[in-house]
Symmetry: C2
């Protein structure tokens, strides 16, 4: 099937090429660990810090090695004493040009801090500076979903090398099946996401709620898609935090979008859904559990929830553009104005 912004064939081809990066990443890890590694630092800004958040959960669940998330703009200030020559910093910039991320990799190199990262373009400042560069493959909607593929490859190879992933082979088999499941998810979700886009297009304020490893995509969808690309006002909030403030704003006509995944935090989001339905008539739930039953290895459904959610949100984004008539490509300030 083909939709605006999505073509099944090129999507799966890109994913296939991404999976082929496995031996490169594994050999990078051999080299990295031979230098002695004491912690891992996931570094990004905006969209790229949001994709690091599910990976933080993936790692922390499996390893006792310290895992840090650092904003690229703050890493260069040197205010985390644990970041140093025995750290591995993970960086990401699809364009390879994000100013703060480029500054972060330069900071790492000046301070002899090992770094690995992904850019979708060669001959870019990020790609050129990375100690262990990975060339991502991005096409159409693929680029967003592919981020998780790349990061799962990096994170699982890291865990395996550190002795924290005895199930590495079975995880890799599940990962190899994920692209099909994500493509199927898009196709299953498309009609519902079209309807949702038209339902919410005129709302003037949107609450977005998510927890655990789908918090990253929730935060990102609010800020990078709704705010940046659609100029819609949002408040994104984590499910357990919702009950300590934001809930008081909920009224019968408040548009609240709740994203649920399948990791351990699911009951925290179920609680928000239960409460929200008592108050608002505009509760919109996107639940990864509704998609591709039987097509994702049960053992890893929880880990893969952010990728499945991202696949759904890609369709919502495409339809929002049509529904609002507001192009996803217009910016008034970002990369337009000097500041």
């Amino acid at each position: 099937m083909n939709y605006k912004g999505y073509n099944r064939e090129t999507y799966l081809e890109g994913m296939k090429k991404t999976l082929d990066l496995r031996p490169v990443i594994e050999s990078y890890m051999e080299d990295i660990f031979s230098q002695g590694i004491e912690n891992i630092v996931l570094c990004g800004i905006g969209g790229t810090i949001s994709i690091m958040l599910p990976i933080e959960k993936f790692l922390k669940k499996r390893t006792k090695m310290p895992v840090y998330v650092e904003n690229a703009a703050e890493l260069v200030l040197g205010n985390n004493k644990a970041v140093g020559e025995k750290s591995l910093v993970v960086l990401y910039s699809a364009s390879g040009t994000t100013k703060e991320t480029v500054a972060a990799v330069r900071y790492c190199n000046e301070h002899h801090i090992p770094n690995i990262g992904v850019s979708y373009k060669k001959d870019t400042p990020l790609y050129d500076e990375l100690k262990y560069p990975i060339l991502g493959i991005g096409e159409d909607e693929y680029s967003c979903d592919g981020d998780y593929m790349n990061l799962f490859l990096i994170a699982s190879a890291f865990l395996k090398k550190n002795g924290d992933m005895p199930d590495y082979e079975s995880f890799m088999q599940a990962l190899a099946r994920l692209p099909e499941a994500m493509a199927d998810t898009k196709e299953e979700a498309d009609a519902a996401m079209k309807e949702l886009a038209y339902d919410i297009k005129d709302e003037t304020y949107h609450m977005l709620v998510g927890a655990g490893n789908v918090w990253g995509p929730t935060y990102c969808f609010a800020m990078c898609y709704m705010e940046e690309m659609q100029w819609m006002k949002t408040k994104s909030i984590q499910s357990p935090e919702f009950f300590h403030g934001t809930l008081e704003l909920l009224e019968e006509d408040t548009n609240i979008m709740i994203f649920n995944g399948e990791d351990e935090t699911r009951p925290l989001t179920d609680r928000v859904i239960h409460f929200a339905n008592k108050i608002s008539k505009k509760v919109r739930v996107i639940d990864t559990k509704d998609y591709v039953p039987g097509k994702v290895d049960e053992k890893y459904r929880g880990d893969f929830s952010p990728a499945i959610l991202e696949a759904v949100l890609g369709r919502l984004t495409a339809h929002l553009e049509d529904a609002t008539g507001h192009s996803l490509d217009i910016r008034r300030y970002y990369r337009v104005m000097e500041y």
Copy 2:
């Protein structure tokens, strides 16, 4: 001087009693470290996770020991493998009854995880369960500002015991002078905060921006004060993140409140102020640097910024209540409804 919700004398008395907790906390640390500690876990929810965030910065700047921040509702799910018998979990609940925090301390005890924490009331579930309980002293506005006093005592005693704070004595001297400076700050800020409260009272949407160790108070003021207590819509966003999405919403008439502190991240917030002033006519900056010059030890002004900011925001909160005529004590759902 006296204001609604603030009395200099009782404020300083409470702070004095808080400082007297020093030997208790130091002796707790002796005991805790004798069991072997490998990491520290700052645990809270809502307002109490927000006060942990500046402490995370305070610790990370000074120690290589892993520092984690865990939401109380997630800690009990056991999804951070590094949290265990060699962790020190720090908890906080003024009332001593916050459901998620009480569940978290019980989880710690069941799993033999050392825990220390503050409640402002004895004979409460939190106080009774804590392995190392601290009785906080709360009066009027003191309670919010006092949180930082308690946490600075805990964090610095922890660092000293771990060999990471050679300047412990001079820090303690600076901390002893902080309450006067916070009281003076309130008095210096009062008139301006009254004006600000009346300026913003009718706005229907508020952007709040802050970075580094004032991000915690920024997030908290948006969610716990404006949303929960005043039912005002907010979007709180970290300064470096602002430039990766939220900026696109800024218009000439957007109310944007920017909180600046004096830690290393100050230039990141300066950049937001500079940009916002080009677009919006409603840029409201609260800068800790404007308060109590010479009354805070220069060396620690950056560390104390969240406490100084909190002192200012206490005045803003009190005046907002008058300006909107919306009592700070009304809730429609929180602790009113079952959910």
